[in-house]
């Protein structure tokens, strides 16, 4: 299993701030799955973190990991 935590507008697009998904080996597979399940996500930019470390490019997801979907905020 993978735990997915979503913030800001990403949470709005997937209509929850937490998801549990079947295991996926890396962030590219996960992103492909999310884009297919939630096509609105294709239109917004966000970064990913695996186990609370920012994932840059294709990153392996360890078993039982927590992946966070992090959009930029601009308000002040």
């Amino acid at each position: 299993m993978i735990k997915v935590k979503a913030f800001g507008m990403v949470a709005e697009k997937i209509r929850t701030n937490e998801l549990e998904l079947q295991y996926m080996p890396d962030t590219e597979v996960l992103l492909g799955f999310l884009h297919q399940q939630f096509p609105d996500l294709k239109h917004i930019k966000f970064s990913l973190a695996v186990n609370r470390k920012q994932a840059v490019g294709k990153t392996m997801i360890p078993l039982g990991a927590e992946v966070a979907l992090l959009p930029p905020f601009s308000g002040g």
Partner: protein
């Protein structure tokens, strides 16, 4: 023991007089005296930061008053930096307040920012955030970043030490387009949220200057007002960060951050196709002359050559968004600027890379040939 206004923090274990001296000799610039800037300024001044710059070109308006706690009803219509400076000077005689009643621009950024040790970003839009990040990287200034969206906030210290430190573009290499993220004015905010995030920014600035506690250097803390959950992410260097970033002050001064960040921005083909699906009144327009090749075949579009723009401009009245493309993206970007003057408020975009960009693998499904 002599009582002074810092007595309570000087007796705090681990802080003391030494830390107080560091604050006294520090110079902090707060960009934006708004929802984040107001609480940050109040606490930085109260803590005894020796020099505080306040930079904001905006005027106080009635709808600011739920969160911009330096201002009241009698300040409506006044400049925020001047009003904030006046108030803080009246409270404390032992610190220096610089008032800069201007918005930050590529022209004034370097001379202003170079005077300070640390920059606190309390702005409220992506163009300013990318501009502030880029100049802080170029001038090697630590940046205490803070931002909010609805009930959530982000805060962290960027560009803290040297080129190995992360900056905003390591986390978000390119700005979102205007469609992606609505601003506070569109989504609403409870006034205490920027109060909390701005106060954390001030906390981090004080800790960074004095070495007190552990800081959010190279980290981003996400905070949710609704349940008080917080989530800290360690940031990493990103090779994409440098692709869109100016490398010199001269390059920085040439960047149009409003265009880069979605106000009349460039978008890519995938985003353009997405907008056409989402907005039935949107149209794709080829601004090249009619004999230029290759022509676009697979995607429905209009052809309005730049040379005939004056005759055809009326047709654009009913089109929104307007998505322009040319051969490589340069003429279409220039046309965006012309059309924005004629149609303020209309969403007008240039497709970056033009028809040539359709050759990239991600776009091959849309290619006309």
């Amino acid at each position: 023991m002599i009582m002074d206004r810092f007595a309570r923090q000087q007796v705090l274990p681990g802080f003391g007089k030494e830390a107080q001296e560091k604050l006294k000799h520090s110079k902090i610039l707060v960009i934006g005296a708004g929802g984040l800037g107001c609480p940050a300024l109040l606490y930085l001044a109260a803590a005894g930061v020796g020099t505080i710059g306040i930079m904001d070109g905006d005027m106080v308006s009635l709808s600011n008053l739920n969160r911009q706690i330096l201002f009241g009803e009698s300040d409506l219509g006044l400049n925020k930096a001047e009003t904030a400076a006046h108030f803080l000077k009246s409270k404390y005689s032992d610190i220096h307040i610089d008032c800069i009643p201007e918005f930050i621009t590529t022209e004034n950024a370097a001379p202003v920012i170079s005077k300070y040790d640390l920059i606190l970003d309390g702005s409220d839009n992506f163009p300013t955030r990318y501009l502030v990040n880029d100049i802080c990287v170029l001038l090697k200034k630590p940046l205490v970043f803070g931002a909010i969206y609805q009930n959530q906030g982000q805060v962290g210290i960027l560009n803290a030490k040297d080129s190995n430190s992360v900056n905003y573009r390591d986390l978000f290499p390119d700005p979102p387009t205007a469609y992606e993220i609505p601003n506070c004015n569109e989504t609403g905010v409870l006034g205490v949220l920027p109060g909390i995030i701005g106060t954390i920014q001030a906390t981090e600035a004080i800790k960074f200057i004095t070495g007190f506690g552990s800081t959010l250097i190279d980290k981003m803390l996400f905070y949710n007002l609704l349940d008080h959950q917080s989530y800290e992410v360690g940031l990493n260097k990103n090779p994409d960060a440098h692709l869109s970033m100016p490398n010199t002050i001269a390059e920085f001064m040439e960047v149009d951050y409003a265009v880069v960040c979605g106000n009349g921005d460039s978008i890519n083909w995938v985003e353009a196709i997405g907008l056409l699906k989402k907005f039935p009144d949107g149209k794709l327009i080829d601004v090249r002359e009619k004999d230029e090749a290759p022509r676009l075949k697979k995607i429905k579009h209009l052809s309005f050559p730049v040379s005939e723009i004056e005759e055809t401009i009326g047709v654009l009245n009913s089109i929104d968004p307007v998505l322009l493309f040319c051969q490589s993206g340069i003429r279409s970007l220039k046309t965006v600027k012309i059309l924005e003057k004629a149609f303020p408020g209309k969403k007008i975009h240039s497709i970056s890379g033009g028809i040539e960009a359709l050759d990239s693998p991600i776009n091959k499904n849309y290619h006309g040939n």
